[in-house]
């Protein structure tokens, strides 16, 4: 441990008590990665603060020593956004888990960042409300992490991402000040900048979330198709008919196999793809549109349609989908979860290309997607015991992102850039774009200590003048980026 880290550890012990500081190397290693295990770094020190004041004191101490720090919630992220720094401090918010206030008449709740997503819903369900963002990890992911990653979920097609459900954030700025960002004040929408900044602009310590009224009716169906193509046709037809489902999810044969092995969800056997369509809203509207959806699915070639008769049946349909990522562990020793976006209409074409990629490379790819908004989650399977397999999987995974960009999409829909995709940023953005983003970051964190090494491909100090260059940029020269 460096001397500055050792000094900090002592200071933290005085601030948080011995219980709130971890320095034992064996214990530290359990924090070496989040939900994405192919990037690992053992943190220098871990702290477990219990209040905003403690977070601020820790951040101030880091700033004074010039030591980098990273915030972490439940550690379920899939882009390595909470990957620690070996020379830095990991600030874990898991002990900040109080629901501070519930204000039903104004449809809002105030929670600490370590509160688990689903616990917000549990706290207000009896009043007929819920917290809408529903990432698949909602049973464990923290609201603070949702804010950092601007998490979506199956239902963001209709209800939007975390950004649409956060009304205010109390944050600790990188200089250790506690301040509040709100959505409704005049001036710049700094809350909009903060949500989804992947923890690079500060640490949120209190979040005011919007509560959504539980819809009058929810109807869910599961449609089985021979192929992904016919499933894709159904998706386009449904959206084209002007229906905005709460969710449209598609799974291919391989991911169905995994989910079946994990949770015995009982999806129709022999399906090349299943589509889960959920409609919610007023009774009459849902009844009318549901009939339409059923008709469109049959027209597109669905060979079996199951309609959830009650909450238990609905939960079973969703269980297969929600467990799909982790369930892939049943059919493959290791896998990469990819997250890319394409225009909905490009779905059949891109899936065909992914199939071809998989055939060429011999790397199996299972597909799960939020079909309604073109958010793909290809799961790239490999055996980590086999030499070179991880690299090949990585290559296929990267090639899928290229396909997304090529078709006018994006390298991430909801998992974030983190450390995993920072190298793909130049494929999507020019240097000028990236420099402009850096300037925003420097506005918040001029010292570059707050979750450094994430989002951007090349760390740059804030003193460097962006944009003004002589000659060709090195990245362009290396063929890694293009100037448009």
């Amino acid at each position: 441990m460096s001397t500055s880290l050792a000094r900090l550890a002592e200071r933290f012990t005085a601030l948080l008590g011995p219980d709130g500081v971890i320095t034992d190397p064996v214990r530290l290693r359990t924090y070496e990665c989040d939900g994405l295990t192919n990037h690992r770094a053992t943190p220098g020190v871990v702290v477990l603060p219990e209040s905003a004041e403690q977070v601020a004191a820790v951040v101030r101490a880091c700033a004074a020593e010039g030591v980098p720090y990273v915030a972490r919630g439940s550690g379920t992220g899939l882009s390595g956004g909470a990957l620690p720094r070996t020379d830095g401090v990991l600030i874990v918010t898991a002990r900040m888990r109080r629901v501070l206030e519930i204000d039903i008449p104004n449809q809002r709740a105030v929670v600490e960042p370590g509160v688990i997503n689903l616990d917000v819903t549990r706290a207000v369900r009896a009043d007929g409300y819920y917290f809408a963002p529903d990432p698949s990890s909602q049973q464990i992911c923290s609201v603070g992490g949702n804010v950092a990653e601007n998490s979506g979920g199956a239902h963001c097609l209709k209800y939007g991402f975390t950004a649409h459900h956060v009304l205010a954030c109390e944050i600790v700025t990188p200089d250790g000040e506690i301040t509040e960002l709100t959505a409704d004040g005049p001036g710049y929408d700094l809350l909009g900048v903060f949500v989804g900044a992947e923890g690079t602009l500060g640490i949120t310590t209190k979040i005011t979330v919007r509560l959504t009224r539980v819809p009058e009716t929810v109807q869910t169906l599961l449609a089985a198709f021979d192929s992904i193509e016919s499933g894709g046709t159904a998706v386009s037809a449904i959206i084209g008919a002007g229906v905005v489902p709460a969710a449209i999810e598609m799974m291919d044969a391989l991911s169905i196999e995994a989910a079946e092995a994990a949770v015995s969800c009982g999806y129709p056997p022999g399906a090349g793809a299943v589509l889960i369509v959920e409609l919610d809203g007023p009774d009459a509207e849902v009844a009318h549109q549901f009939a339409e959806v059923e008709r469109l699915c049959r027209q597109a070639g669905a060979f079996e349609i199951r309609i959830a008769a009650d909450d238990a049946a609905r939960a079973l349909i969703w269980r297969g989908r929600k467990s799909a990522f982790a369930a892939v562990g049943r059919i493959s020793p290791a896998y990469l979860v990819q997250d890319g976006v394409i225009p909905r209409t490009a779905l059949p074409r891109v899936l065909g290309r992914i199939d071809a990629l998989s055939a060429e490379s011999g790397v199996r790819v299972a597909n799960v997607f939020h079909a309604g908004d073109g958010n793909l989650h290809p799961l790239v399977l490999f055996d980590d015991a086999e030499p070179g397999a991880a690299e090949r999987a990585e290559e296929v995974s990267g090639a899928i992102l290229d396909l997304c960009i090529e078709h006018g999409g994006s390298i991430t829909g909801e998992h974030g850039v983190g450390v995993d995709k920072s190298r793909y940023m130049p494929r999507m953005f020019t240097d000028t774009d990236l420099d402009t983003m850096q300037m925003v970051r420097c506005g918040f964190d001029p010292a570059g200590l707050c979750n450094p090494g994430k989002v951007f491909p090349t760390p740059r100090l804030c003193g460097e003048v962006p944009g003004v260059r002589k000659g060709v940029h090195p990245l362009v020269e290396q063929g890694k980026a293009d100037l448009f």
Binding site: I22, D24, V26, R27, R29, T30, Y31, E32, C33, D34, G35, T37, L48, S74, G75, T76, V92, A94, R95, R97, G114, I116, S137, Q139, I140, C141, A261, A262, V263, S323, F325, A326, A327, V328, G329, R330, P333, A334, Y335, D384
Partner: protein, 432 residues
């Protein structure tokens, strides 16, 4: 049990998704990665890669309750139950414990698995309770200073009454539907004799001949769940031999039933026993599980009482028995079943956990007791003696020493009361 070469594969099943975290009692308490299933698996991996079993590492394994809530929540099918059992055995083999820790463990394992030794303790314990010496000792805090484990043991002992001996055979009432063996357990038999009597009566009233072999002893659950493998195997062999002649072995203690269903794994490497172990595991049923399979025949009489049903971890998580006890209770006319918030989180009993980790156990007991009280029920129903003692203790503590504010009963006792037409007073009389 499981060959060591299996360990890397079992470890590799974990994909680090974190779905187990919110279901883990120690993660719920402390919010630390290394006290979560995912973190403990990471520690096991570190050890596998050569990191020595340090005191810190062992501390986190010891802090695991073995409640198996993580097994229920894991989408990747990680067999954490086997991982922690293998790890505990390794700890017992390799890691030197402090003299005080060794002494307390020796005491526990030379007392609890032996019904005769427990019986010898009953007399002095009854005297101790009836003279009021127990209250004096608790007020003085002398045991707490001497050893928190001893203090926990003293506190947890339930008020003892007479202990009727069960005969070796109880004949079915009416036409016989089955012949079942009954495990009497250790703590169940000596500290909760009423539960065993009720179990035998309910089985008989439902048309079962009940065989209660005298040769049975401890099933080995406590040893198995604490990494004492050789001891567990010896107990298992004896239990198998005792029950080989019955069609079904009915068990009314969750921890015992769960370990008997694991005999096949435990004795897999012993050619002479592997087959017999597998057969016994396949014939083992929890009481509620068995009664539902059998179907009700005896008349249920009304029992106007509100009960809260507590899921014992070794019943719900380890054996997947959740619906059956609820169905049995709901089948009693005029009885209301209430659900306890966070039913899947352990009460802190966990075999010997409340004796070896009294502090964490007390915190979990307090959480559970608060949730139990919130149901407003008159009777708490649990199907494991450890849970009953643990929750009764926590309820008593929360009432500020004014006694346990609600009755605690086993599913068998509630059914027995209904089948025999006893009123709810039989439970109300228990509130002290």
């Amino acid at each position: 049990m499981g060959a060591p070469e299996e360990l890397p594969k079992l470890l590799n099943d974990c994909v680090h998704c974190g779905f187990c975290l919110p279901t883990c009692p120690t993660y719920v308490l402390w919010g630390e990665e290394m006290d979560s299933p995912r973190g403990r698996i990471h520690l096991m991996q570190q050890h596998q890669e050569g990191a020595p079993l340090s005191d810190a590492m062992v501390g986190h394994f010891d802090a695991c309750l073995g409640c198996m809530a993580c097994v229920t929540s894991c989408p990747s099918g990680v067999q954490y139950n086997r991982l922690i059992e293998m790890t505990r055995a390794e700890v017992e083999r390799e890691h030197p414990r402090s003299a005080a820790d060794r002494a307390i463990r020796e005491m526990i394992f030379s007392l609890f698995p032996y019904p005769r030794r427990l019986r010898a303790l009953r007399g002095p314990l009854r005297l101790y309770q009836r003279t009021g010496l127990d209250r004096l000792v608790r007020r003085s805090g002398v045991l707490e200073r001497l050893s928190p484990s001893l203090a926990a043991m003293e506190r947890l002992a339930p008020p003892l009454g007479k202990a009727p001996r069960l005969p070796g055979f109880v004949a079915a009432r009416g036409e016989r539907r089955a012949t079942v063996g009954m495990l009497t357990g250790c703590v169940q038999r000596e500290f909760f004799p009423g539960v065993n009597a009720a179990t035998a009566r309910v089985l008989a009233m439902e048309g079962c001949d009940v065989v209660i072999p005298k040769s049975q002893g401890c099933c080995g659950a406590l040893s198995l769940h604490s990494g004492r493998e050789d001891e567990a195997r010896a107990f298992a062999r004896r239990t198998i031999a005792a029950f080989e002649r019955v069609e079904v072995v009915v068990v009314n203690a969750a921890g015992c039933g769960s370990s008997m269903k694991e005999y096949a794994d435990l004795l897999a490497d012993e050619p002479a026993w592997a087959g017999r172990a597998e057969a016994l595991s396949a014939r083992t049923r929890d009481l509620a599980e068995y009664l539902v399979e059998l179907g009700p025949r005896a008349e249920r009489r009304p029992l106007p009482v509100t009960v809260a049903y507590h899921d014992a971890c070794h019943l719900a998580h380890a054996q997947g028995v959740r619906a059956q006890p609820r169905a049995l209770l709901a089948g009693i006319p005029e009885l209301t079943v209430r659900e306890i918030t966070d039913p899947g989180v352990c009460c802190g009993s966990a075999g010997t956990y409340n004796l070896l980790q009294p502090e964490a156990a007390a915190q979990l007991g307090d959480r559970k007791a608060a949730n139990v009280r919130d149901t407003g029920a008159e009777v708490l129903v649990a199907a494991n003696p450890g849970c009953s003692m643990q929750i009764a203790d926590a309820l008593g503590r929360q009432s500020g020493g004014k006694g346990v504010p609600m009755a605690v009963a086993h599913t068998a006792e509630v059914l027995d009361a209904s089948l025999r037409g006893l009123g709810p007073e039989v439970f109300r009389a228990r509130t002290s």
